[in-house]
Symmetry: C2
Subunit: 206 residues, 2 copies
Amino acid sequence: MSKLIIPRKTVYRLSLYYRALQRAKANGIDTVSSAALATAAGVKPTQLRKDLTYFGQFGTRGLGYNVAQLSARLTDVLGTTRLQPVILVGAGNLGSALLKYPGFAKEGFEVAAAFDLEPSRQRAKELGVRVLPMTKLTEFLRGNQVKMAILTVPAHVAQEVTNNMIDAGIMAILNFAPIILQVPDHVVVNNVDLAIELENLSYFIQ
Amino acid sequence: MSKLIIPRKTVYRLSLYYRALQRAKANGIDTVSSAALATAAGVKPTQLRKDLTYFGQFGTRGLGYNVAQLSARLTDVLGTTRLQPVILVGAGNLGSALLKYPGFAKEGFEVAAAFDLEPSRQRAKELGVRVLPMTKLTEFLRGNQVKMAILTVPAHVAQEVTNNMIDAGIMAILNFAPIILQVPDHVVVNNVDLAIELENLSYFIQ
């Protein structure tokens, strides 16, 4: 199968549809109408129908979408059919909290290892994952086929760590450090910046 | 001053410009060109110029933007001129990590209180913030002018907690629970869903 070129915002919405389908499945529902699926995903029905045209015809007029079939197609497109290995760099407060996040494995991601300036066996045991020293980062990445990283280091070291990770093969970064990372074109960065999210809300409540 | 109506995505970018200006200021820079500011914020110069037209003329042709003036205008528009009170609901792993986040006060937000099913004095001391029982949520919100909430409760209670908060006056929610919250039109929700961010990256590394 050739790779589909899907716009970035559509890819986000595919995740929303996938989640809504999982909830439908958990509730024993086999078929959903586009209107019901759109509402459950928090988008407009016209948007949903447009997004799903990337996969050709899927719904049956008057019947709606087959929950199992559409789910399978979405995980296939999203690349989460198999368990995706990911590393976490910076096991401080936020990094540790994320490592305890129960959703990783459930959603198809496996934390292959965490890295920290000061790893300790105690911490590793608490977190249930290997915590390696930063000096082992390059070696680890070269020896393992990991392409995704979660970055939870302080802002002032984030760019340097990023450069090292990219040299060692990382191609996608979920960045929690409050800076704009400079990366080559083949690398994708998604930013989660708490302060920006709050500022954005702040504007809307004035 | 009448309220400007600015599209949601533009408001996000204003935060990026503001951060880039703060870095310029920290480096002793008084004036920046639109090209330099755009690069520092990670957007295209044409986008920056378009976004700033919402405030009328700002730059001086050939000279660029005055860093202090533009910063002041942005905090004014974003509503972060004064310290904004915010509550955090759900002081578990993720909630606790966020409470330890040093950027809150720096960015103009003050955590007025945290709420949890099982508050403890020990926890409150560790976190440096009042941790109140969930049963006090409504009373607290009615007695204090807090309009923003950070929601870090488990998914299965998120909607119920949201309904209670909205009844008590909350108008903006930063939601970390992996569900689509149903809210009335006057309430704004920003979602931070780790699994969705990872899935999105996963698509791009295939």
